[in-house]
Every structure is written in structure tokens, then in C-alpha cells.
Subunit: 297 residues, 2 copies
């Protein structure tokens, strides 16, 4: 299974899981953002982790799709005028630009329920106790102790970052906390659920979690770098906003060169973790290569 | 157990279930709206249904509290400027007035995850398969096929209602659909989960669902009447907005007298359902009496 096969499989399932019912506007709005063309990294990593540990990817499909729905939900609400106020997402008008703010708020809300419902409804081959374990992982990383904690600290960091003498020391912990939650949490959720569905031992679960934590941080650093060096056409969203809004990012805190260095270093650590555990995945290797390449490394 | 005992018990548990952690603002925002003094009708009805069918109310407590959290979530997002734009809720400034819009959006999002997490985390006495059954009920009534469907049709009905010849026939079905979902769904969720936790048969579940459907409609008609006849001091929120915004309500469609008549009729049907099934509850009787009295019947 190569990357494109995975993406096609995930897109088909997402399309199947979200049917258009009455009142159509809400389902159309949910589906609009979920189905925007994307790399599907989180669901791919969930399925690939399941496969890597000997599980059946079919069993992980509802969970993988639920994580992509959750990811789409964060994008819809992040783009709202009262949040990041972004008019474009993945090269298309953002959700509230198409459906209006009220429906965009409700579509995000609906996805927050639809995602875990997809897990309980379609995971026919998992035992009730495994489903509850998966849900606990999901709730943990999706909620106020997970991705939302990252978003809150992100909002609170706006304009907080002032370039002064003790900047790095003062802000580096906040920056790491912010991105561990805002970005790494969904990757951790993806690999942990994939691994649990494959039936791994606690030790392997710990290792793959460490991998995802580092990968997520690296992914965010790459995103910060791309916000600085790319064009709208390459990214499909408004760029340079981080700088404009005085946001705390890896580039604003460490500068472009050190950010690249950190990215490269974290990805090496990710590869080492895989190697040490004798885990082999062309998919993971390809994802890492691609991120490094796009960031100009 | 009288109404006040129930309310005190629920408030204590809600306070216990939502602890203030880092980043504090999000937990404070979630807790702010959840803990606003309210009648706690939905969790009370969940617990009382469980008791009425011979269950232990302790077993239903996490679910009852989750339903109240979900209710609070709908209030937070409903009050947002892009939705109903209400500055007051239960006599206090609404969530976004205190915490800002961005945090209010995220607090609502966080509650949508925290609520079902409360069910999986604290329902120690329920079997995994019962927990999944409860979650399926929860997801069904909370999502795009439940309370959100009602909110969407509510938004879409704004300014749609024009007083013309075929008004009643044309809009009565929309009005019923809207309120079955926007209001009845959380009451249905409350009594169904209470009944399931008590271990009822399918037939009893059907009956109590019918009760909640009619009760929810009656509750909404009473709310529409109160919007017309009450003062801010009595209700703790801005009134007369329905009329101003040309919203489809029972009063705007049928007039005040027929709305009162419908309310009275539905509550009689609720009482008949209880009587026929030999179900006795001073709590339910008290709730019904109180709603009729406040609506001037």
C-alpha cells in the first residue's frame, strides 16, 4: 500500500461515512471541509501504525476517519473571524465563507460528535472494551487537556511575544507546550489508536507515542518555516499572518536557521526511534522525507 | 428525594467533574456556564427516570451531568454574536462577554468532548456494552441528526416566517421538526439514558421516549409564551427577540391563546402516558405543574 492508495481509501471512506441528510446545509458544511483535498497524514499514520504492528487496517478505518474529522473541525473553528480569521483553507474559501459563520460553528460542533460516533458505530470488529479504550484516547487528545489546550495557549501567546533579552528562555517552554498539544496531540492520537487496535504491549505504545510527539513538533516547525518562506499558491492559505500577529512560532523565537536545524534534528530522532525498535515503514520514511524537502532541508 | 436535593446533588457533581487545570481560562470558561444557577431539568429527569424504573441514581450521575454539560455547550454557542447574539444568560453576562469569543468557541468545543468523556470515565458500575449504548444515544441526540439539526432549521427559519394566508399549514411541520430536535431531543436523551441504565425493556423505553418528546414540545411552547409575556428580571435573558427577528415560534404562528391551549393539551398527554403505565413521580408532576403555572395556566 503506497501513500496514494491510503489517501484514496481514506477519501472513499470519509465520503461514505458522511452522507447528506436533512437539514442538508449542516451535512454539506461538515463534508465540505472534511473532503477538501489534503495529505490525510493523521489517518494515514493511524492505519500505517496499525499495519506496522500486525493489525488489520480495516479495523482502524473508523478511528482513522474520526481523527481526520476532528482535524477538519479544528480547521473550521480556527478559521472563524473570532479566531484566526482566515478566508482560505487548502486553496478554497474557508467554511464560514461558504456557509456563513453560524453554520460553520454548528458544523464544527456536529463533527465533534460525529467523529467519536463514527468510532462506536462502525468498529464492528472491535470489542466494547477496546472501543471504550479508543474513545478514552480520543477524548483525552481532542479535549481541553489536548488539542484545545494548545489552541488556548496559542491564542493567549498572541502579541505576548516581545523580542527581548530573556526571550528564548522565557518562551521556549510555552512554545513547546503549545505545539505538543496543538499539533502533536492529533499525531499521538493517530499512532496510539492504530497501535492499540493492532493489540500492542504498553512498552511499544510508549515508544510510538514518543515518535509521534517528536514528529508532531517537527511537523509544526516545518509549518512555521513554510509560513515564512512559501507563497499562497504553494500552501492554499493566507501566509505571513503569524509574524503580522506577533505569534509565538519556532521561526519568530529561534530564527529561520535554528528552526531548520531543530526540524532536522527531531526528524533524525524519529528515524532513530523506528530503527531501534526495528520498525520499518516506507510510508513514514516518505512522509518525513517530504516534510524535510518542502522546508528546504 | 425532592427537587432541591436533586439540584444540590447535581451541582456538587458538576463542580467535582470539572476541575480547574492549566490552561485555566478554558476550564474556567467551561465551568462558568455549566455552573450558572439553573433548574437542571435535564439531569433531574435522567436521574428520576432511572429511579422510577428501579435503577440506582448513582449509576446515572455521570450521564446526567454529561447532558447538562451538553446543554451548557448549546447555550454558549447559541449566545455567540454570529448566532443569537445574546449578552445575558441566566441573569449573568454570557460566556463570550466574560471570556471573549475565541475562548467561548473553544469552551463549547471542549464541553462537546468533556461530556461524553465524563460518561466513559466515571460510569464505573456500567458494563462496557451499556456505556457504548449510552454513548450511541448521546451522539444521536447531540449531533447533526439531533439538537444541531434543530438549531440549523431554527437559523434557517429566521425571517422566513411571513404572516400570510397559508401560514399555519405551511410552517407547522417545520416548527414541530425544529422543536422536536432543538428542545425535545435533550429531554429524550435524558429519559432514555436514565431508563437504559435502570435496565428497562424496549416497550417501556418507547413509552418514556414519547413522554419526553411531548414534554419537550410543551417546554418549548412555554418558553415561547414566556418570551412574549415575561420581563428580563424573571427570565435572566433578553426577551422579545423572537418577534424582533421574525422567528418562527408557537406564539408567532398560532397566537398566544392557542399556544397556551397546545401547551396545556401536551402536558395532559404527558400525564396520561405516566398514568397508563402506572409510573409515579412527584418530581415529574412538580415540573409539569411549575411550567404550566409560569406560563399563566
Amino acid at each position: 500500500m503506497n501513500m496514494n492508495d491510503y489517501i484514496e481509501l481514506i477519501n472513499d471512506k470519509l465520503d461514505e461515512f458522511i452522507s447528506i441528510e436533512y437539514p442538508e446545509n449542516i451535512f454539506k458544511s461538515m463534508k465540505y471541509t472534511v473532503m477538501l483535498p489534503g495529505k490525510r497524514l493523521r489517518p494515514v499514520m493511524c492505519l500505517e501504525t496499525c499495519r506496522m504492528f500486525g493489525g488489520d487496517i480495516e479495523d482502524a478505518m473508523p478511528t482513522a476517519c474520526a481523527i481526520e474529522m476532528l482535524h477538519a473541525q479544528t480547521l473550521i473553528h480556527d478559521d472563524l473571524p473570532c479566531m484566526d480569521n482566515d478566508d482560505y483553507r487548502r486553496g478554497k474559501p474557508s467554511n464560514h465563507k461558504v456557509f456563513g459563520e453560524a453554520i460553520a460553528v454548528l458544523a464544527g460542533d456536529a463533527l465533534l460528535t460525529y467523529a467519536p460516533q463514527t468510532i462506536t458505530k462502525f468498529s464492528e470488529n472491535l470489542s466494547p472494551s477496546t472501543i471504550i479504550r479508543i474513545l478514552n484516547e480520543y477524548f483525552n487528545f481532542a479535549g481541553a487537556r489536548g488539542v484545545i489546550a494548545g489552541q488556548v495557549v496559542d491564542i493567549e501567546s498572541e502579541n505576548a511575544f516581545v523580542s527581548d533579552g530573556d526571550t528564548v528562555e522565557k518562551y521556549s517552554k510555552t512554545l513547546e507546550y503549545l505545539h505538543i498539544h496543538k499539533t502533536s496531540d492529533l499525531f499521538q492520537l493517530a499512532v496510539r489508536t492504530g497501535a492499540i487496535i493492532a493489540g500492542v504491549e504498553d512498552e511499544q505504545l510508549f515508544v510510538i507515542t514518543e515518535f509521534a510527539k517528536k514528529f508532531g513538533l517537527a511537523f509544526q516547525i516545518a509549518d512555521d518555516i513554510l509560513d515564512e518562506i512559501s507563497t499562497f499558491e504553494q500552501m492554499g492559505k493566507t501566509l505571513g499572518k503569524d509574524k503580522e500577529e506577533g505569534k509565538l512560532t519556532y521561526v519568530s523565537l529561534y530564527g529561520l536557521d535554528e528552526a531548520k536545524c531543530k526540524l532536522s534534528c527531531l526528524m533524525s530522532e524519529c528515524r532513530d526511534i523506528m530503527k531501534k525498535q526495528n520498525l520499518k515503514s516506507d510510508i513514514f520514511d516518505g512522509i518525513i522525507d517530504n516534510i524535510l524537502k518542502r522546508a528546504g532541508i
